[in-house]
Each structure stands twice: as structure tokens, then as C-alpha cells.
């Protein structure tokens, strides 16, 4: 076999986002060696800025690859709207002179509201409120993230029935997972 290549780039704000996605991708059969997490070096706080600022260059980079590469960008909506964040990513491409994302392109824009911890709790069967900040919730730890990845895998399978407690931002993002190359 050839030397391994990172063909899934994870552009994330923090460790919780990275861990949820890595665990999810492992469920799909991907190996750590094929993933390349990029997260802000300065810790949480300016994470969304890091994702916005690096989004266009990562899109350009994966398009330049001859091998099949995929970009997964995760950016919390925080107190704003999901659509605001989505438009920020669109603007980031436009400002950098990079063509917009194609409808089936392997570029995922995941926008948890209020933050990824909301998704982790929701995936662990908790009823959550997207306006509330769960970043420091005691229910979010390595084990609950691992469990959340398993449920996320179940919810992204064909014909999955979503429970009522699935928050709108997660429901909205589920089709994005179909962009991951098989």
C-alpha cells in the first residue's frame, strides 16, 4: 500500500467539535490517519474567526487535490442565526475570489446552534434549547461525545427517523453529511 494521505480536513473551532466529527467519521470507516484536524491555536473564543478566515483557503486547497478530498467546516451559530453564519461563509469565498460551493461538492458547512455542545446533548436524548449556552455543561465529556457520534451516525443513515427532540440546526445540517465521499 502507499503512504497514507489525509483526505478529510476538519476545520473546527475546538476539541469538542473535532472529537464529535472524528468519532463520527470513524463510524463511517475512516481512520485517524486520513483526517487532518485544524483548530485555532489560541483556544476557544476566537474559534469562529479562525474557521471563517481559513475557510476559503481550505476550499481552494481541496479543489486543487487530484485525490478525492473533503472539507468539513464547523462553526457555531452562537447568538446569531444559522443563516448569518452561512452567509459569512459564502462571503468568505467571494471575498477571496473562490467559486461558490457546488451542490454536491465534498464541502460540508456544519452550523450548530447555539454550539456543538447543544448537538452533543441533543444526540444524547436531552431536550435542549438552542438559545442556551451549554459549553460548560457537565453532561458534555469524552464519553457523551462518543455516544453522540454513534447517534449522529444512526440519524444520518438512509431512512432514519428523527426523534422530536432533534434541534432545528442539526435537522437542517443532516443533508450536509451526504457530501462526504463514500
Amino acid at each position: 500500500m502507499a503512504a497514507r494521505v489525509a483526505n478529510i480536513i476538519l476545520l473546527v473551532e475546538d476539541l469538542n467539535q473535532e472529537n464529535l466529527l472524528r468519532r463520527y467519521l470513524q463510524k463511517l470507516g475512516h481512520k485517524n490517519g486520513n483526517m487532518r484536524p485544524r483548530k485555532p491555536p489560541m483556544g476557544r473564543g476566537s474559534g469562529e474567526q479562525f474557521v471563517r478566515e481559513n475557510y476559503a483557503s481550505e476550499v481552494r486547497a481541496i479543489r486543487s487535490q487530484t485525490t478525492k478530498a473533503c472539507l468539513i467546516a464547523v462553526i457555531d451559530a452562537d447568538t446569531g442565526s444559522i443563516d448569518d453564519r452561512r452567509q459569512q461563509l459564502v462571503r468568505a469565498l467571494r471575498d477571496a475570489g473562490v467559486a461558490p460551493r457546488g451542490p454536491a461538492e465534498p464541502i460540508l458547512n456544519l452550523i450548530p446552534k447555539r454550539n456543538v455542545e447543544t448537538w452533543v446533548l441533543c444526540l444524547n436524548s436531552k431536550v435542549v434549547d438552542e438559545e442556551r449556552d451549554y459549553r460548560h455543561d457537565a453532561g458534555v465529556d469524552a464519553q457523551s461525545i462518543k455516544q453522540a457520534a454513534q447517534i449522529l451516525y444512526d440519524w444520518t443513515r438512509p431512512n432514519a427517523a428523527l426523534p422530536d427532540q432533534c434541534v432545528p440546526s442539526l435537522r437542517d445540517c443532516l443533508p450536509e453529511f451526504g457530501r462526504i465521499p463514500v
Partner: protein
Amino acid sequence: MLKRVYIDNFGAFVNFELALGRQQLILGLNGSGKSTLLEVLRAIKKLVTGDAQPDLLFPESSRTRWQTLTQQTFELDVDLGESYRFRLEVDSPGSPALRRIRRELVICGAQTVFEFVEGEVHLFDDRSEQKEPKVKYPFNPFRSALATIQPRSDNTRLMQFKNWIETLYCLQLNPHSMSGQTAREESEPAFDMSNFASWYRHMIQEQAGAASKLQDQLREIIPGFDGLNISSFGPNLRSLEVDLAITLSPLTTIPFTFDELSDGQRILICLYALLNFVVEGHACLFLDEPENYIALAEIQPWLMELRDRIEDRGGQVILISHHPEIIDYLAPEVGLLFERDGPGPVRVRKYKPDESLSPSEQIARGWQ
């Protein structure tokens, strides 16, 4: 899990206290005390497992140069479901060259379960709350009395600590010292893993499932890797061999001895072997500069595997590194910075990320 290390009067460690979590990255300039910390922990382990005596492990020359105090003090706080404190005091009451154990103490919860003080051993029935020793006897202070304690029905709590210290590993991998030949099994990896072949020979007997998982991982990591085998080439002599598939027509698998692999390949095999054989339960692994010799693309995947392993199987890993790839990946969450003012005592603090610079850039500038 090792929760706290206390060192007083050893090298540049004076009244030094270090709190540890499941995973940490220790950062610091050369001479800041990072490797000396491993030296201390290795010495404590050797003492308590009976491998060496205090005058060799804690010689007079290891005392802090600017102190007149002769006593050296070490403490380990360990969480094994119950909390333990081990305290060791070494001094030289007569001739400075004669280093003796003044006191060895193991406390479990609030109860003393072992004490060796001023040449007298105190054994306790650790099933009861009794504060008085059950047995007292004199013992040679130039050896560890704790090392001589054998398991009994009344010292299971003490033995839990003794068993834990055998799973404390302080390693600095050196591919140049590794041999592919082995004359016997060895249950303990040498500090530089020079005995990797002998240790692996032991571990495949003890942990066959982990050995199989290791081989699966190596197939994904090392191009052409097909298997890691122990082959006989004489009475008791074995050779560690790696089968590599060579892209010829037809595809051919050729055995290479472990010595024939590149430095980086040998280190990669060791790192993944440690991951699979050592990192679990209460075991604690200190690794000094694990990234030496391995390709940039291999560092982050190993760190991710390490994090997953700790989350899934337990274990504790403390890395020491100067490498930007490791620093940038781990420092914001688990970085600890060792520092000294000139030749003064070692201090430690949590690494504080900068708002605009990457951790490695911040450290390269000396702005940490």
C-alpha cells in the same frame, strides 16, 4: 492516575509541585527540568521495585546545589479508585556518600498502610481501620523495605499501589540502541526501548489481542507492512522480523530484521506498541520527545489514536516535546510550562494561549 508529584532538593527541583491530568504536554526550554522529572520518577520506580539502591538513584550529587539541606523528599499522589500518597525521604546523616532511606510511607485514603522509618518497618492490616502497626521489625535503610513486601490477605491496598508503580513508564525512545535480537522475554521496556524485541516477545504472550490490533494498525501506517514476527535462530535466540510487501510482479513479501528498518519505522512501531500494550486502566506513561525520527504526517494521527485510546481504555500519558506539530495540537488544552530563572528552581504553570500566535510560534519567540 498519577495526580500529583512533589519533589524537594533534587537537581533544580525545590519544593516543586506538579498536578497532572489524564493527558498533558510538558513544554519548556532546554534545562528547564523536563527530563529530570522523568529521571526522578524512574528512580522512584527502580527503588520501589527493588532494582537499585538509594545511593545509586539519589546520590549526593543529585541534591540541589544551592541548598545545604541533606534530605531529599518525594511524593506521589495516585488515584486508583482510592487515593494514595507515597512519600520518600532520603538523607545522609553521617557521611554524605552514604545515602539512606529515612522514611518510606504509603497512605491510602487517610490510613497509613506502610511505613519504614529510621530503620524500622511498620506493617499494618489494611483491611481494618487500625492505626497501630500489626508488625514492626528492623530493616537495612540502604534498601527499599517497600520493595520487599510480598502480597498477603492483609495488605491488598498496599499491593495495589505497588502494582501501580510497576505500570509507571518513563521512556525516551532511541532507535539506535534497539536490537532486533532477543535471548529472553522481558516484561519491562527499557527506558530507551533498547530491549523492544524482548519486550514484544513477552507482550505477544501476555496480550495476544493487543498484539493483533497493533499489527492491524501497522498495516495502515507503514507502507507494505504485512506482519511483525518472532523467528527462531538458535537455542532461546529469536529475531524480530517485519514482513514487507514489495511491489514486484507478482507481489512479494520479504522479511526484514527489525534492525534493517529505518529509525522512523522502528520508532513508529514502538509508539503504536506502547499505545496498544501500555495505555489502559491506571497505567501512566511519560514519553520524552516521542516525535523524534518520525515523519511529520505520522505525528498527529498517533496523537489522535492516543486521545481515543485514553478515552476508551483509560491510562494516562504525559508527553514532553519541542515539536510544533505536537505543541500546536495539544498545548492549548493540556500544556504545562516548565521554567527557571537562570539556574534557579523549576517552576511550572499552565500554558496560556496567545490570542494571535500559534503556541509553537509563541514559544519559538520566547513570548510564552
